[in-house]
Symmetry: C2
Subunit: 203 residues, 2 copies
């Protein structure tokens, strides 16, 4: 929204105690994020980004060419589904399964390394749709690595992604949006313990 | 493509023996569908539909209003992820788990029933993006119901969806695209047996 120069109010949700506003705005999935605009609500991060891009047309987030748009959407889904899930799995699992899970996570990140090679941002010279989708890599991933005792974003293995990370966090519109690290740690510690206890109960 | 009046060639893939063309066109997921156009390839059904809509602008598939577009995209993902997976699960599982799995599938279909109520098509007066995304319900679902020994699209429970199904299959551009039933049966029989054998080996 900052890139678009649009005023907005950020409402934080306590995910352990979801507000009636959230439950009503996203009755299907009951999840954040949700954007409220003109008395209507739009849910799911990738869909919200396209909504923002189509509603406020200045500083487009997606490329203009249909093929480039399709490519951006393809990689967005890849990040949002494959990468997130593979890295989360590698973080949570323990014991023998861990080696395989880390390998799968590295494999998915290698596709991104390949895609960002030679570019400052996924969007080219400036931050675009795909940079925002991949943004969590810059401030969540190192927390997951620490809590899960894994190494994913090794600078030698993934030099282009590493450079992109530096470019991304130095961008003025990003700097102010990054959540405080201790909040991210709390959030994921809870999630990891919860998933592990579920798994332990199943065995 | 027929709705757009665009000439195309349909290339069938033997999924047990994927062609080099498929493996090269969708190197990440190695899955159909893929569209080849101007020497480039675009993969994943929802992304292909948006690519087609943005490349050939006559007879738009998506609505024009940003909020309506977001809504169509939201339900497309819901169908493509939640519904498909819930119905597939209900088809495959056996024994005690089946009751719960069927309930979950019915729950996801109930959201669609709610969304189509009062409309001829998801797209309004004519077939649009979401109708195409939901199209499998009209020619795959009854095969899954039969093979999985379940009932999902009960006409009394889901009268609006049932009516939509009739409207959809009577549409001229749809009629010629529906695959022969025996092919669908073969394809899913193989998939169901495969999933069940995987599960049996795990237990």
């Amino acid at each position: 929204m900052k890139d678009k120069g649009v005023e907005y109010e950020y409402i934080e949700e306590d995910l352990a105690n979801k507000s009636p506003l959230l439950l009503q705005s996203n009755a299907v999935h009951k999840k954040v994020p949700v954007i409220l605009h003109n008395g209507k609500s739009v849910a799911e991060s990738l869909i919200i980004l396209e909504y923002i891009d189509e509603t406020w047309k200045e500083n487009p987030l997606l490329p203009q060419d249909p093929y480039e748009r399709a490519l951006a959407r393809f990689w967005a889904r890849f990040i949002d589904e494959k990468c997130v899930i593979a890295i989360w799995e590698a973080t949570v699992v323990q014991g023998e399964e861990k080696v395989k899970a880390v390998e799968a996570a590295l494999e998915s990140v290698a596709f991104l390394e390949n895609h960002i090679q030679g570019k400052k941002f996924f969007g080219g010279e400036k931050i675009g749709y795909l940079d925002i989708v991949a943004g969590w890599i810059t401030h969540w991933l190192n927390v997951l690595e620490e809590l899960g005792d894994i190494e994913i974003l090794n600078a030698e293995k993934f030099p282009s992604l590493h450079e992109w990370k530096q470019n991304f966090i130095q961008t003025s519109t990003v700097k102010d949006c990054i959540p405080p690290r201790e909040k991210v740690v709390d959030y994921f510690s809870f999630g990891i313990n919860y998933m592990r206890s579920l798994k332990a109960n199943k065995e």
